[in-house]
Symmetry: C2
Subunit: 348 residues, 2 copies
């Protein structure tokens, strides 16, 4: 049973720079300002409670979220592309041991690391994804390479690693992905399997919800979404969750929005969550707030799918919606900055 | 460049048995008869032209399509489940060397066979999928086992094979999947790579579009969709197409329809084709005819994505839409039966 504590933070405030666009979500056609750029990130959603967090640990996450936003915002502010912003922003989170992606990836049942990632650009629905990587330092770059340097969308396992090597991505020994914290999480879960399966509040994201993601809109109005993960601790059978699945964990269309998800991946696949947010905006003419709220807090909650998503729409609105106790998250627009962890935190 | 020869065969005729349901696609609520059951199949879409087909070969395909329908219809007529009908129907095509799935799977660049499959039930959006199988005789049964016997949706490569073995599915040596025709196709393509890449009209489905699929609605009104493939001849890097991707190659929802796709998989992933048909019916209140026509003949054609799909909606309507020269296809409802290959064939 998931907790039905739900929360939706929706930012309808608009920034002070940018081009003039039409607000099609209103029945009255009015001119509103689109911010020059927007970027939103997540570092996983789950049973993240203040009572289980040390001040040091909380501070480390807040600092990491701020620094992550710094990376992407610097690129966007400088007129860089949303594609570069998303890739480099996710690099930062992949290189941090705090998040379940890249360096901080959780362990499989067999004590290995298997990483998935995907990226999609809203201008032409071009997309790339990888599943089951062991030795590529930054899986999001492998996803980008699949999009840009192959005729495919999804490459997997040893073939994807070979491709990453051929296009010159940084390869690291599997030991690079060893972190004591993640190793202990696996040992705890393996031990639980012998006794009784329980949740571990001190590391609530290890089991199902650890993912990082970023959606950005650049000064040209291009939206890109990307997601990267180490998957579930103790996963078996070369399981893929929603992260390498375009339409489930990641989607982007400049006419609607970009979406990056985090949560119990199987539910996000079955309800094509990222594509469904896009479809509701396109077909039902829902606002970003309405579409993300419905999918996260109604569709997923009714079915028992815990997690959340971040999104930027074509007008630069930002959504960070989740139905779990917390989600590591943040966004930046010109003159605006927010990072948060718990549901009780507001955007200011 | 794909051929922009397009075709849509839409069957609005309704069968003579069955329950009373409301036709919600009409603005006026009226009672129409839903057939007792409906089943539709495809065996791949592509540049299938009569001039390139021998009479013997054409007869073999028509016979196989008829026998395939026999399998599923017998189950449905007897009150069996759509789930059983779809699985057993796809078994029949997987066991035939004529279709690019199971026994007739094409070869990868490395001379191996890598098979993908997925299945989804419309009653609860439960789903299962497998990617990169080498030794499971019937990949669609592995997909069903993932749905019914695991907490996951997508298992891949050696892990999926281990899972299939553990749940007792039939395992065969890789040599089982050797067929001279598919081996020659690979050799031709490898040879072309050294000279100049060309299409081979005598085996047009080998390269991109070979897939089998089935959608069925049983007497309880449950809709199930399934798809199975050997992928692309000469594929590399453990590429997955749309077949193991829920939302791309396969989707099912009892409130709208079930969909199984075949075509250039990358496009079907990028436009979440199966889920998009569902979304258009649900959100835009389009009929099955309208939704499948739009997605196949507008969305995909505009983007250059060749292929097609088969679908059954909640009222037992059947669609077999494709934008290529041909699609191996057929359907059955009480008192009705059709099989076809070329675009010029009508439903009667």
């Amino acid at each position: 049973m998931i907790r039905i504590i739900t929360m939706l933070i929706l930012l309808s405030l608009l920034g002070c720079q940018g081009k003039m666009t039409e607000d099609l979500s209103s029945s009255v056609t009015k001119k509103v300002e689109r911010p020059a750029y927007a970027i939103v990130i997540h570092g996983g959603a789950g049973t993240i409670l203040k009572k289980n967090m040390t001040p040091e640990r909380e501070a480390a996450y807040r600092k990491a979220l701020m620094e992550t936003l710094d990376v992407g915002e610097a690129i966007l502010k400088d007129g860089g592309s949303a594609l570069d912003a998303v890739e480099k922003t996710i690099h930062y989170m992949e290189n941090s041991p705090l998040f379940n992606a890249g360096k901080g990836a959780v362990f499989t049942h067999d004590g290995t690391n298997e990483m998935d990632a995907s990226i999609m650009q809203g201008i032409d629905q071009n997309a790339g994804a990888v599943g089951g990587l062991h030795t590529v330092k930054n899986p999001i770059s492998a996803a980008r390479a699949v999009m840009e340097k192959s005729e495919h969308v999804l490459l997997t396992s040893s073939g994807a690693e070979q491709f990453a090597q051929e296009v010159g991505l940084e390869i690291v020994p599997p030991s690079y992905f060893y972190t004591e914290r993640r190793w202990k999480s696996l040992q705890r879960i393996l031990n639980d399997e012998k006794t009784e399966l329980s949740e571990h509040p001190e590391d609530p994201l290890d089991k199902k919800h650890g993912t990082v993601g970023c959606v950005a809109m650049d000064m040209q109005g291009n939206i890109v979404a990307g997601t990267s993960t180490g998957g579930m601790t103790n996963k078996r059978y070369n399981r893929f969750g929603d992260v390498p699945i375009i339409g489930a964990g990641t989607y982007a269309d400049n006419t609607t929005c970009g979406v990056s998800c985090t949560g119990h991946g199987e539910y996000f696949i079955r309800y094509a969550v990222a594509h469904d947010v896009h479809a509701r905006m396109l077909y039902l003419k829902e606002s970003l707030a309405e579409a993300t709220d419905y999918v996260v807090n109604k569709t997923l909650v009714e079915k028992g799918g815990s997690g959340g998503l971040v999104s930027v729409d074509k007008d630069g609105n930002v959504a960070m919606a989740f139905n779990s106790a917390g989600m590591y998250r943040g966004y930046a627009r010109p003159g605006e900055r927010f990072v948060g962890i718990y549901q009780e935190e507001n955007t200011k």
